[in-house]
């Protein structure tokens, strides 16, 4: 195992990942999930989960308040749109920097504790942010209406430097004249997802990543080994906060509206679910988990009495009615129940998440193939 091999392997993994991401609209077409809004969402939540995994997967610190950074990123991007420019790059820089600063403050306080106390502290901070956004901070967040674009926004860079006049219509974010909606919006998100993924690969392979795994494994030994664990955990916390900020910023870039519900604790819980479902501490796990949950959400909520009746129409009438009523518990607005069950099954039978499931399957297939080869050669030998 030499240096160049490992690097080449990483390039290969990233390239493979890039191909899958860029082809996602086509690959998901048969499932009816290839539409622009959907794939945008997958890319954005993929970034969110990758970032979360850098903290939780490597250091083992379980943050229950990561949605706060998503929200801060959204608001920061929105203010960049309103005050400076409709350029998405500027907005995302704003989102990442502000989320990073916010993470620095929250991390500095929360990381004084570990385990459940750390989780509770982050949860408390996120709830506080959520409540503040609806009360004291309404001048910044615009309360329940949410922060949105208005015609009278100054957008000083756009008007003063580029002399753009948006006229009477509300502007949308655009990069080099390409509007960040629909598929162009997706490809913008996808490019950032691929970059984010590669950065996470580098972190996983780096000495810094090794130290983060050391934090998870034995912090006591780490300190007696001459390493200061606090700055390592804080750096991981800020990096993962910045990823969340980027995701929050992208939400605003593709759909210029920021509301505080993005900071609600269920959103924080969802990213935990995504990461665990996919596989904690693995490179692909978080993205797999995020896609699974987001796709299941759409697929399950769109089911109603009629679609279910059609799905079970092959059954005799009484049984069909029964199956429809059972299935209706798990679909429509009750889709969380399905996710909950899936989560339980995964945690109990596949603690390594979907990635472990795939690994086991691959092993099984491999064994089958080699067995078949052996029996083939055995039979040919016998025939001879």
């Amino acid at each position: 195992m030499t240096f160049s091999n490992q690097k080449q392997k990483d390039y290969l993994i990233t390239a493979l990942f890039a191909v899958i991401v860029l082809l996602a609209p086509i690959l998901l077409q048969p499932l009816g999930l290839g539409f622009a809004d959907m794939v945008q969402k997958l890319a954005i939540f993929g970034i969110f989960a990758i970032g979360f995994n850098i903290l939780f997967g490597l250091t083992g610190y379980l943050s229950f308040g990561h949605a706060a950074f998503l929200g801060v990123g959204s608001y920061a991007a929105m203010w960049a749109f309103k005050l400076l420019s409709m350029n998405p790059i500027i907005a995302l820089l704003f989102a990442v920097v502000f989320a990073g600063l916010f993470a620095l403050i929250i991390g500095f306080v929360s990381l004084r504790r570990s385990g459940i106390y750390f989780s509770i502290l982050t949860l408390a901070f996120a709830e506080m942010s959520y409540r503040l956004a609806y009360s004291v901070l309404t001048p910044i967040t615009n309360g329940e209406t949410g922060l949105q674009l208005v015609q009278s926004d100054p957008r000083i860079i756009d008007t003063a430097v580029f002399g753009i006049d948006y006229g009477a219509v509300l502007p949308t974010s655009s990069l080099f004249g390409i509007q960040m909606t629909l598929y162009p919006g997706f490809y913008f998100c996808a490019a950032l997802l691929i970059i984010s993924f590669y950065i996470s690969v580098r972190i996983f392979r780096s000495p810094f990543g090794l130290m983060l795994r050391a934090v998870k494994s034995n912090q006591n030994r780490m300190n007696y080994t001459g390493l200061h664990s606090r700055p390592y955990t804080l750096a991981a916390f800020v990096i993962s906060g910045m990823y969340a900020g980027l995701a929050g910023g992208l939400m605003v870039v593709t759909d210029p509206l920021a509301g505080a519900e993005r900071m609600f604790w269920t959103q924080s819980g969802e990213v935990v679910l995504m990461t665990i479902l996919g596989g904690v501490g693995t490179l692909f796990g978080p993205i797999l988990g995020a896609s699974t949950i987001k796709m299941a959400e759409v697929k399950l909520t769109e089911q109603n009495y009629q679609t279910l009746s059609e799905a079970f129409s092959f059954l005799p009438l009484g049984l069909q009615e029964f199956m429809v009523s059972v299935a209706s518990w798990f679909t429509g607005d009750k889709w969380h129940l399905t996710i909950g069950l899936l989560f339980m099954v995964i945690v109990i039978f596949l603690p390594g998440g979907l990635v472990e499931g795939i690994r086991r399957l691959a092993k099984l297939v491999k064994r089958k193939i080699t067995k078949k080869d052996q029996s083939d050669t055995a039979s040919t030998v016998a025939a001879e």
Binding site: S206, P207, A214, T225, G226
Partner: protein, 251 residues
Amino acid sequence: MSILSVTGVNKRFGGLKALDDVNLNVEEGTVHAIIGPNGAGKSTLLNCFVGRLTPDTGTVLFNEKSLIGLAPHEINQAGVSRVFQTPEIFSDLSLLENVMIPAFAKSNGAFSLNAWQSVEGQTSINEEALEGLKDVGLDSKATMLASQLSRGDKRRLELAMCLVQKPKLLLLDEPTAGMARADTNNTIDLLKKISGRGLTMVVIEHDMHVVFSLAQKISVLAQGHVIVEDRPENIKGNPKVQEAYLGGAHL
């Protein structure tokens, strides 16, 4: 020249006086053993050296610099490494990674945001770590997970983790506790080999066989106080020691 000098160290836990005016001098390049009955304050004393505990009064000088008030990682960076009574290792990492971490700590300091290069690319660290494993005879298990090792091997691994940092002072807390005789003898040979390179060691040990095979000097601690500090041959016959340590029985 003494590398570690401890003067007038006191430590109280509530009403219990764990360390009572302890004085100790460790000469550079020697193996210095601290012995004493259970509860004599041996581990408390060691904890005062590495920053886990702060003495109430007194000084701990390492190479003429005070260690009091420094955090554990700062003391380690100054050149003091410690082996624990129950091996403290990175269980879910490979042996090689276990030894690479201290090697990185030595070369890059207490914190470094080296997040772009890959671990495999750090050839000198890799070689150092492998060399360290070879030193304790674990190089053939380099890719194994540390949690899969036997207890004795875990101790060897922890020793390799300390040695790879080339410390100026190595502290060992009962390095052979719970070991079978054969394993104990292996450990003694290993520690002899290391001390042969001129590394200063402070050993806390219950097993007199280990103490007398390794130490050039012995401090006997009883009820938080150093009652004798002398060469091994003089310790054996010392009536004070026999009374405190063995309850008057003859060696």
